[in-house]
């Protein structure tokens, strides 16, 4: 069965990339290790959004709620619960998944723009609660200096933990996309009416997809705590959701690894152009405008179309 999922070539490319990212931190200065870790956190978040956005065609307008919920769960278990951080890492995806289930049950009744708008309203309620509940969440200050276990406290330890968890999650998401469920999900994206007629329970598939995306976003949130050691309400704010959208579009949302590339591009832009000018967001904005006007498939999607040689198992053809 695995033969259909992974070709030999792509398997070795993936393995090589995995080994490179495993060895790389030994030679890089600390700042770059930190950047790589952030790229993997945001890449995981963007890929989880793309699971429902690119492959499910759902207007997930407020994905960051699940990310923030995961981050706050991991943080609160340590600071308020006084429990081990490892427990927080386990609890984060559970809480995010439950939140996804509740929000999903309310939202999947609608589709397209209405779905997105309803999600914005529900997500904003979660955000404003976190923002104002000073006694629990620290309000707009957030929570800083979260005590982490020794192994992941150092930059390198944090990187390795983030990288390995993110890789496992990416692999899992890849299998979800390639599974019968994932195939049905993409069919729903392309033609929900026909799927309904074929006897597919469209709403239930969408709900399951949304919960999966929320779970992976929650894991990304707990990884954020590993890398940064703090949480703040901006993690759940709508603007971050839109930035994650930008990452998806930048890399290309019909390509599995597109969002990861997009996240890397945004982090690189922020870190390197941000040194020279405060106005790096203008550069990002102009880039996005040009991209939407001329390359709506994103960078990877463009090259994939251009070369026609892209590895079909690593990437997803446009329907």
């Amino acid at each position: 069965m695995l033969d259909g999922l992974i070709t030999k070539k792509s398997f070795f490319i993936t393995l090589a990339a995995f080994v490179i990212f495993l060895i790389l931190p030994q030679f890089l200065p600390r700042f770059y290790i930190y950047l790589l870790a952030i790229i993997f956190v945001l890449g995981l978040l963007a890929t989880s959004l793309n699971l429902v956005l690119g492959f499910g065609g759902m207007y997930q307008f407020h994905h960051c709620v699940f990310y923030g919920a995961g981050a706050y769960t991991a943080a609160l278990i340590v600071t308020k619960g006084g429990l081990s951080f490892w427990l927080g890492v386990i609890a984060a995806p559970i809480v995010s998944g439950l939140l996804g289930l509740i929000m999903g049950l309310i939202c999947v009744r609608l589709s397209k723009l209405y779905f997105g708008m309803l999600q914005i309203s529900l997500g904003s309620l979660v955000w404003v609660l976190v923002f104002r509940w000073y006694s629990l969440t620290g309000g707009d200050d957030g929570i800083h200096g979260i005590a982490l276990p020794d192994i992941i406290y150092s930059t390198q330890g944090g990187y390795y933990f983030t990288f390995i968890i993110a890789s496992i999650c990416l692999a899992l998401m890849y299998f979800i996309v390639k599974s019968p469920f994932g195939r049905t999900f993409q069919a729903i994206r392309d033609n929900p009416g026909r799927c309904e007629a074929l006897g597919v329970n469209v709403k239930r598939h969408q709900l399951i997809g949304l919960v999966w995306a929320a779970i992976f976003a929650g894991i990304a949130g707990s990884l954020f705590v590993v890398v940064e050691g703090s949480v703040f309400p901006e993690l759940l704010f709508w603007n971050l959701s839109l930035e994650v959208f930008i990452m998806c579009l930048l890399g290309g949302w019909f390509v599995f690894l597109g969002p990861l590339l997009g996240a890397a591009a945004v982090v690189a832009l922020r870190s390197f152009v941000g040194i020279y000018t405060d106005y790096w967001t203008t550069i990002m904005g102009i880039m996005m405008m040009l991209l939407i006007l001329f390359l709506p498939d994103g960078i990877l999607g463009f090259f994939q179309k251009k070369t026609h040689k892209a590895d079909k198992c690593m990437t997803e053809e446009v329907g």
């Binding site: 708008m117 309620l125 839109l242 203008t282 709506p296």
Partner: protein, 298 residues
């Protein structure tokens, strides 16, 4: 402010008046957003940026005109026009190329523009916050049924219904209003009737931008004018438009009323979470009526 827990009739009345004056601004901003969403089908994220530009512009104009009452009036009229001109440039420059794209792309495109706008505001006005005290004419309070009420809030209270009336007149009684209402229902048919749809779109978009600028100019004397005020207003305006019914201007009025009143009355009942209450109200409304209270034009 009364202490929490003790709600007297006077304090309730006062909070209702405060809520209604806030409703005016929310309604002005949200109805502009709703108009653009209804006719052009664009979820316009940089509507909030235009609101922020309107506020900064009103500040600069008032201060450069000597901080007089007359200067404030001029700023109140001029700032929205400048914002509308900015909107016209964006619409004719780039946005009109994208009318046939799906909503998601339009959302991201307008978000990109909002990123550029917020950097431009940072470049022109700096990261420091500004505050504009109400002009002399609006300073102080007046007694309203036995409670003293700030003059500026009273002005907003009077302006709100006038604005709603004007908007009703524009959309229901003028030709361009009727055309744009028709365009929001069936744009192709309007085009087939020999009307230049492109021109209608530009006009409606500019009106929408004007409202964002007007809202910004009106809020200027009431709160700090600061980077990031665009993020807060856009989420509130979107929620108001959603609970009202996408593209329905009168829905926006109802949404603004719900939003303004729950937060101001909530300040009496539950001060710490007063800004949470409108969001709870929004969710309750949407659970029962997921497509908004009034009929959406879509």
């Amino acid at each position: 402010m009364e202490s929490a827990g003790i709600i007297t009739f006077t304090s309730l009345f006062q909070q209702i008046l405060v809520g209604l004056s806030r409703t005016t601004i929310l309604f002005i901003v949200a109805s502009g957003l709703s108009l653009v969403l209804g006719v052009l089908r664009i979820p316009n994220i940089f509507h909030g940026s235009l609101y922020m530009i309107g506020a900064f512009m009103a500040y600069t104009l008032t201060v450069s005109l000597g901080n007089t009452t007359m200067g404030f009036w001029i700023a109140l009229i001029l700032a929205p026009f400048i914002v509308a001109a900015v909107g016209l440039v964006v619409e004719r420059g780039v946005l009109r190329l994208l009318y046939d794209r799906e909503h998601l792309m339009l959302l991201l495109f307008t978000f990109s523009i909002s990123l550029i706008f917020s950097d431009m505001v940072k470049l022109i006005w700096g990261a420091k916050f500004r505050s504009l005290s109400p002009p002399l004419f609006f300073q102080g309070s007046v007694p309203v049924f036995g409670i003293s009420f700030p003059k500026y809030n009273l002005f907003l209270l009077i302006l709100g219904p006038l604005f709603a009336l004007g908007l009703w007149f524009l959309t229901n009684k003028t030709k361009i209003g009727k055309i744009s209402r028709a365009a929001s229902v069936d744009m192709e048919m309007v085009g087939a009737m020999g009307i230049n749809v492109n021109l209608v779109f530009a006009f409606v978009f500019v009106i929408g931008c004007f409202m964002a600028g007007l809202g910004g100019a009106l809020i200027a004397p009431m709160q700090n004018i600061i980077q990031g005020m665009d993020h807060n207003i856009i989420i509130e305006a979107f929620l108001i438009v959603i609970i009202g019914g996408l593209g329905n201007i009168w829905g926006a009025l109802m949404g603004a009323l719900i939003f303004g009143l729950t937060s101001s009355i909530g300040a009496l009942v539950w001060p710490q979470f007063s800004i949470v209450l409108p969001y709870i109200a929004v969710v309750i409304v949407l659970i029962f009526r997921p497509k908004g209270i009034l009929k959406s034009v879509w």
